[in-house]
């Protein structure tokens, strides 16, 4: 049977491979793929190559595609145009890490309740939780700003970090899907051994859900690293800026009269550096990453 299927398959494939339309299709497909890929990469190449030019090489017609000489030192000089170490510290230590911790802990706890404890009203509340993702953020923008202003939290990271400790609808959904796939026998056995719900979560579910928790943590970290709107609204004080706000200012200063030398290369250098962590995370966690995003569509 298997051999028959196999030979049948190869003969059809061989027969099809001869078909000129099939060859033309393959060629068109690769032209499209390679053309698209080059177009997609162009801005990144332009960013990274411009980062190593000086003003003489940036302002040329035709454009100089390969920087010569390549000023690798630009990355260091650009980083000192503003206090980018401070802005990195703000972004990571004051924002990304605490909000990631809050998001993972609270979302895991809520997802456990929504998936592994049966209680009246659970499914309705979960549906509401999902529905909140449809609410445009603008509806909450003004009242939240007023709440945080009244709490005197403007120019601190509290408006960006504290809400993270109250669960994130998308991550609750992701973790719930994962928790549901863990056999109930495992937690039942633990309950018979006298474990309470909290112990079941910590000792059984969380260790098994490590891959899903990692994806949530990576997403949460990236959300904070990439966030622009949150810091724009709540952080005005320069020493408290995130990287995004500092880069914005760099871009605006460039178009002003009397912009400093090498403004374009420096902006591209900082942009390259800020993109690197995202590239690294993506490179090392590509599969779990793409699976995590695919999950959101499977219910559609």
């Amino acid at each position: 049977m298997a051999a028959e299927a196999l030979t049948g398959d190869t003969t059809t494939r061989r027969r099809r491979a001869i078909h000129p339309a099939e060859i033309a299709g393959t060629i068109v497909r690769y032209i499209l793929l390679i053309g698209l890929a080059l177009t997609f990469l162009l801005p990144f190449y332009w960013m990274a190559s411009s980062a190593m030019k000086d003003d003489n090489q940036v302002f040329t017609v035709p454009p100089r595609w390969i920087p010569n000489p390549a000023y690798v030192g630009n990355f260091l000089s650009a980083w000192q145009v503003q206090d980018f170490n401070l802005f990195t510290f703000n972004t990571v230590v004051k924002y990304a890490i605490p909000s990631t911790i809050g998001t993972v802990l609270s979302s895991a706890l809520v997802a456990y309740s929504f998936s592994r404890i049966r209680w009246p009203g659970r499914d309705l509340l979960f549906a509401i939780c999902l529905a909140t993702m449809m609410i445009p953020f603008q509806v909450r923008l003004v009242p939240l700003f007023i709440i945080f202003k009244d709490l005197d939290w403007i120019n601190t990271y509290l408006p960006l970090v504290v809400p993270a400790f109250f669960g994130n609808a998308f991550f609750i959904f992701m973790l719930r899907q994962f928790f549901r796939s863990i056999p109930t026998e495992l937690s039942e056995a633990a309950v018979i051994d006298g474990a309470n719900e909290f112990q079941v979560l910590v000792r059984i579910i969380l260790p098994l859900a490590r891959p899903a928790l990692t994806v949530v943590a990576l997403f949460a970290f990236m959300d904070a690293w990439n966030d622009y709107l949150g810091p724009l609204i709540y952080i005005n004080n320069e020493p408290e800026w995130t990287l995004a706000l500092a880069i914005q200012r760099m871009g605006r200063a460039m178009t002003e009269v009397g912009a400093s030398a090498n403004a374009y290369p420096y902006l591209m250098a900082v942009s390259t550096i800020v993109t690197m962590p995202i590239l690294l995370i993506f490179f090392f966690a590509q599969r779990s990453f793409i699976e995590g995003i695919s999950l959101s569509g499977l219910k559609g």
């Binding site: 990144f44 659970r122 979560l201 990439n226 622009y228």
Partner: protein, 303 residues
Amino acid sequence: MAVVSSRWPRLSRMQRHDLFYGVLFASPWLIGFVLWTVYPIISSLYYSFTRYDLLQPPQFIGLTNYINLTTDDDFFLVIQNTLWWVVLSSPIGVASAFLMAVLLNSRIIARSAFRAIFFFPSIVPIIVVSSVWAFVLNIQYGAINATLRALELPTIPFLSNPTVVKPTLLLIHMWMQGGAMVIFLATLQEVPRELYEAATMDGAGSWSRFWSITLPMCSPVILFNMVMAFIGGFQNFALPWLLTQGGPNRSTEFFAVFLYRNAFQYLRMGKASALAWILFIVIVIFTVMLFRSSARWVYYRSE
């Protein structure tokens, strides 16, 4: 009988236990839902009936904010811009994501490399996206226009011409469809192979296999991505704000940009709240309409 009566109290104790722990463990979200969603939504509605500049306490003015908008030329310009954007960017974005996924799903070498390249722009910080594109599209020395000038061809005013700038944003939007593309790719891989094999045996070509198998099997996810694209399209803020600041000549002044300006530049919190509620209602209506229409074009596999 004895068994039943002795089991009931135990069961209800179990139920009480489950209810207690269920609510306890869900409490972060429940409390957050009230604090960061229910309360803000209700107070947003209240603020929309007030004049409020953050300095003085909100002053109730009834429907004035809404009535004023009906004679506000800026508002109608913003509506036009936003509708242009939503109506074009949603289907174009979803279609390009779908086509990329179909390309990736065909028999090709280095699939994961191509997938990574198509996906990556969607997770790059928006501040980097805007800085880099601003430079690539720069009228004098951007990669494209400097090349055109070297070839003595006319330059393209990507960001400086009011009629060119919206299509420019569309192009960048198509470049950022990685999320939707990956969702489509996962769906395409779920389509049972047997369907294609059966169709091939019945003599269906690749085109008719695409129309009668691929598209219907993906239609629920097309709907999902369309809904997300509509919701996102109405809220489009960061890219126009960073790349064009709503210009040139306010041609990229979209709803969310206008709302942000009113709230945080002019401190018109009441007007901004009214705008937010209009946006909310429009999004709900669009979403409901999309779901209603879906009965006619979405195919659900019965399992």
